[in-house]
Symmetry: D3
Subunit: 311 residues, 6 copies
């Protein structure tokens, strides 16, 4: 039977792909080795046991990998547990990603459409060339990438969702602040976090690549723009302005930007990024809070506890 974890019932015989989110080799009272596992899909997680663990089980069930499992659901101390009868590895290309990663709140097709509508709206030729070059170079990862390091807090195409959402706000503000150069601002937004496709890697559970740790997505992306501009033989000031926007978009050295935003567009980009990120965090933090109560501590907001008003 193929089922999402949240639908498991005592007595089910199950088969399908599962993400190993925790794994440890243990000894039972009789001294026999077994694997104590936590398995996940996008609907939930379940404890699992693989008794009589073999030599190879430890690497098969390595944390972050996806494994094809057959087994039986049973009840133990009021909780469901999966007793694994057989298991085999799944090739990265065969992973059924939709099973593990939450869908974005807006369908991916819609996001892709809006993203490319913004690309098409750019009239400055140098901006356009650089965008086309880098989108091609970093696709298709660009379109599926989550915005942050872990599926725990994110969903598929999160990077795209965040980018399009910022562009929407920027598009409105361009009308509001007449001195803003819309082509530069929108181009900067479309590019600003693309370096994350190199900074973070992994089939489902994303983690920092070596390059990501040693350079960070900001420096990676600055180099990418410069390289693109040279390859495209662009001589205008545009690449410099775009590099500066990417370099400064975290707002200050303590948050990872070695230079402060020094142009109107760079400053506005960093402010929109800050606003949009925080509103997403607040929405998540208050999602399951009852009216008239406080959330638990919200780490990325200085550990404050947020309040949901009574009505």
């Amino acid at each position: 039977m193929v089922k999402m974890i949240s639908e498991f019932k005592d007595g089910d015989r199950i088969s399908g792909q599962f993400l190993v989110s925790n794994s440890a080799k243990c000894l039972n009272n009789a001294g026999a080795a077994y694997m104590n596992l936590e398995l996940k899909d996008s609907s939930g997680n379940i404890n699992a046991k693989k008794w009589d663990a073999s030599e190879s089980d430890e690497s098969l069930f390595s944390i972050g990998s996806v494994v094809y499992i057959e087994g039986d659901v049973l009840k133990y101390k009021e909780s469901l547990q999966l007793k694994v009868s057989s298991a085999k590895p799944v090739d990265n290309n065969d992973i059924d990603i939709a099973k593990f990663v939450k869908a974005p709140p807006v369908p991916k097709e819609e996001l892709v459409k809006r993203f490319f509508a913004y690309v098409d709206s750019i009239q400055n030729e140098d901006c356009k060339k650089i965008l086309d070059y880098l989108i091609k170079r970093l696709s298709p990862k660009l379109l599926d990438h989550p915005a942050a390091v872990s599926v725990h807090h994110d969903y598929a195409s999160g990077l795209l969702m965040h980018t399009v959402s910022m562009a929407d706000v920027a598009d409105f503000l361009c009308k509001y602040y007449p001195n803003i150069n819309r082509d530069i601002l929108i181009s900067g937004i479309l590019l600003h976090d693309m370096g994350k496709t190199i900074e973070l890697e992994g089939p489902i559970v994303f983690k920092y690549s070596i390059e990501g740790k040693l350079l960070g997505h900001i420096s990676i992306m600055v180099s990418e723009i410069r390289r693109a501009a040279e390859g495209l033989k662009i001589t205008s000031e545009v690449p410099l302005l775009l590099e500066h926007m990417v370099l400064s978009h975290h707002g200050s050295p303590e948050f990872g930007s070695p230079v402060l935003p020094l142009t109107r567009e760079a400053l506005l980009l960093s402010l929109i990024d800050n606003m949009d990120s925080k509103m997403v965090i607040v929405d998540k933090a208050l999602e399951n809070v009852n009216p008239g109560e406080f959330s638990t501590k919200v780490f990325p907001l200085d550990n404050r506890t947020l309040y949901k008003p009574k009505e």
Copy 2:
């Protein structure tokens, strides 16, 4: 002849109101006392001398006061100077404020209309009552007040301009972030800086009142809302939410907010306030900068120098 300072010519005989922006009693080589003055109107400033200063001249020409002056324009070392022949004080009620304070970029009538349109758009009754009560209480100062301490950096109705501008952005974002309670957010924005009408005082050159220094506009306004709510016998949570938004709108203790924003609306208000203030600062800083050059150091932006792109 009545003229703005920027139009003065060598040989003009001048009469009219002037703001004393600097003043010092000096001795000439012969040991005689004279007043060395800097006079201002909204068009510019000029050095002036009142020879044979009397006892009372020092208080007549106190810095920040408006004086009615008659005198002659002459040229000295390539600059124009005003030789004051007679001077008398101007009563606060007779000051021709329009002569000293820059007009806002949008006409005051337009700002007032938009401000009250936002008030009218509020549907929550408790928000409405509190707004009506406090707008009445703090008018007409509310409608003319500059946003900051000094006319050097500001214009008439600056407070109104800043408030309406934030409300415009908020109005758009309410559509964008569906969980926002628009009535609460817009009401908070309309109220958030009203305490400045008590914090700052003066006919033209604004400075901190004693109350402003000992309490600050944030604490003043929190008390005003509480007092209003009690007088209006409001028992809902609305006054608490509005007080919290005012109290937290500077974002953190180091910027004057003793509590962090803990509701969705409070956080968004502080982010919009931050964004709108910074964009105004950037516009001023880059106003007279040539393309391809940097501004001087911008104090309220951590002394950075801003860049205006080449085109």
Copy 3:
């Protein structure tokens, strides 16, 4: 048998009120639900089990509530345990507070007497009126309130104890620093922490109220004074000075005061508050330390470990 927890013996049959300081619903090996509890009174705490937990037991034994319990004391793994045979809720008004909260080191009656002696010693009429108004408004909570959020570190009437203790020190220092206005200083001290009666709530275990979290006791109290002054039609500078003292008494923004102390009396109040709070913390921290040894880390003193000299 009615007994304090510290006097329980193996085999006792016990009845009486207990504070639930910890509570969890668990399953035994046989899959049956039971409540695992920690019960407290002012003498100590004990583990308790309520076997065969019913649906309603989870809310009955909610943390922070007081419950009337009958049961048997028994010994398990060298520790005493209470086996609960029956339990029922206690109405807030019926709680025997003296059983749960440590008595203050000085009897409450004595503290109340000294508190009102300070009130009576004030000669400035406006100070007097405001004090009378607010004491009446915030009594009787004012006289019983602990000084901090939890009985773990505090005793009944702790707020009164701290207030009277500061007033004693201030009274001496007024003689020492002749420029101090005693009426203002003593009034400020009597008022400074009264907002805690609104900030913290609960029958025994105090926790932050919604108002406490969204505004804090400082802002709450500033509004209270302003409201009192308006109701009393006071036109002197006294309310402003008292509001400023309350607003600034934590000494700096990082500790919750949005303005720095700007008057002699406000500065001295904040220094005495700091001194008296720290000396109380030191006394508690060294209470059970042997001469020649160090305390454990003291969190409110930057985690330092304090030393008790050998002699």
Copy 4:
């Protein structure tokens, strides 16, 4: 005629000692060198000119030195000026210190009496021995020393005044906080700033000695106590406790104490020191401020401006 500067009149012929508080060699229009001087005594200061400056005049009139001068008072541009006719150096031992340094608010004899009364009140023998040894070693400077680096902000015996003042407060608080060891606390207070007699040097205008800059008065005094204890063959814990109090009395590393106060007495000493220093600063800052007005910025209190209430 011998007169204090504040009593100088146009036409006076003057002789006496003066402190050179500023000095520069200048050229007049004719190219001739002259000394442009500022002279001080405790009553005020005056501009002075020594025309036809010789080679040796530059070192004679070095800043901080005391010079015996004869000359004439005259009026120049509404101000008095002293035309120096002759000048000669004054030996350090012949300086009439009382002419230059403000008398303390309490007579020195009274301060000395109270200081030694505190010494006599100590009953712990080891404290007593160390005090006697170090007072003898550092007298008579100890009794005359100002508390800070410059006569601009201080008066003679300022160190003694500050020490006795702190001891008075401590004496009261010992009754209030019963766990305090009075002998240790009072001894620590008497010793805590004695290192300043080595840190600062100069006949009248005090400045940091080389030792003062390279070690600081805190480290100097810790070594002095240790050396005294060894010479006196004291084996109790007393010297260690006193050294710790001196070492920690600035309260934290950022203010110059490499260790935090870790004993009750060390913590109380640092709190009393902080309080007494701040109250002295406030008194000075508000000395010449009118009721209802603010002081200028007070540097040692984070540049705040202090308010003197209306009455």
Copy 5:
């Protein structure tokens, strides 16, 4: 059988000295007391049980003590365990230190030789006298002392190793920076951490002494140099320069130096100390990391994770 822990095998009967690194009195299911112990020698650690614990066992097996143990090695849940059959205390003088503390990477004899070669290379007589005096006073601890508080991270003679290592670097740099006074720099390095022999105490597991906590090794050593200089009747500036180097060698107040390095030699000493300490930390952190992987978080390097390149 006498064996190092890493060589234990199931069934061995063992006797010898062991360091108690963890100890707890527990109850078994039958309610009988036993000691649950962790024992260490320099080769590793092992869990041990002493069944039927007597009253005195808790103090015998106090953490940090060395105990002579006889017992049997057995296998439990795949791990080895030592069943203690008898145990008795070991006198501090009889402890076989070499069994517990890792040998330094360079033999102690070699380190001692190089240390005294540096002492002999000093030509300034005052430096030489102070060094001789203090080395004699603080030996033999000086030669065996670890550099830090715990054997977990250190080895015997670690202090000597660190000192000689810094002297080697300094010796090279003296040639490189010609203005450095080699005698002063090398003397400062030889002295700079000697205070740790007083700050830390213990037979094997070192911990802070009372003096160490109340004063710190820096202040202790400054006093030692001053005392030495006085005893040796040295009148040159040398002791002051050496005291300053010790006092400032942590570089800034936040790291424990109340004065900043103000001489060339003091600054260079602090830079070499910083460099040598960090390189040692890096070596330890990367010791067991595979090429192409990151270390765990390194606490003394701001919790960064270090990278070992692929080859």
Copy 6:
């Protein structure tokens, strides 16, 4: 007569190139315009007047430019002054740089030789290729560039001097810390500041380029290495390690490095850079200080004043 400024004498008639270090258009008493100038060469500076300033003089004498001047030296108020009789611009290519910039303490030829000796000593092929590529790309500026923004504090080839000096120290330390990869460390040092040739621009007085301000020399150089590696088709980890070293060499975000040094070589590079920079600053600061005295405040060393020992 062609002379360095320090050799000017009253009455000299002078011709030659001068750097305009300050320039202002002024009016004399008669209302006529003149240029008030400060001229510099590497030997010193002199005040100069160009009377009867023409329209074009203001741009001719722009600050930072080099001008060919003929004029007369005369004495005014005890100082020498140059009266400019004629002046004309100097083409950048014709500037006699050696006249304005101090020679390095080691001859440039020697520095170049040592620099290329280090390049030749690299055995890793990928390091070698990248070095060769970038040295070629950034020469000849690389060999002449000062290390910092202004000739006031620097000399010709300062960048080369600093680089070679660091390489010397690194070369020694590689022997000392055996785990260091010498090729990586030395290559990183040779590359680490090369971005300054793009960050700073100007014929003599260097200032930040637009690219320098918007990106900074660190980000510029990271992109250069990446571009080089791609052009050279290098696939090893070497470029990533070199980019990381450049990116992290300021040690922490507050000093401009967005990532902390995470490899052994990156950490050591940042430590050597810090040490060598500080020793150069100290040498300059103490250059003209007498033994037994303190320097003025040294800005790049936290404004401390340095002490030069008595001997």
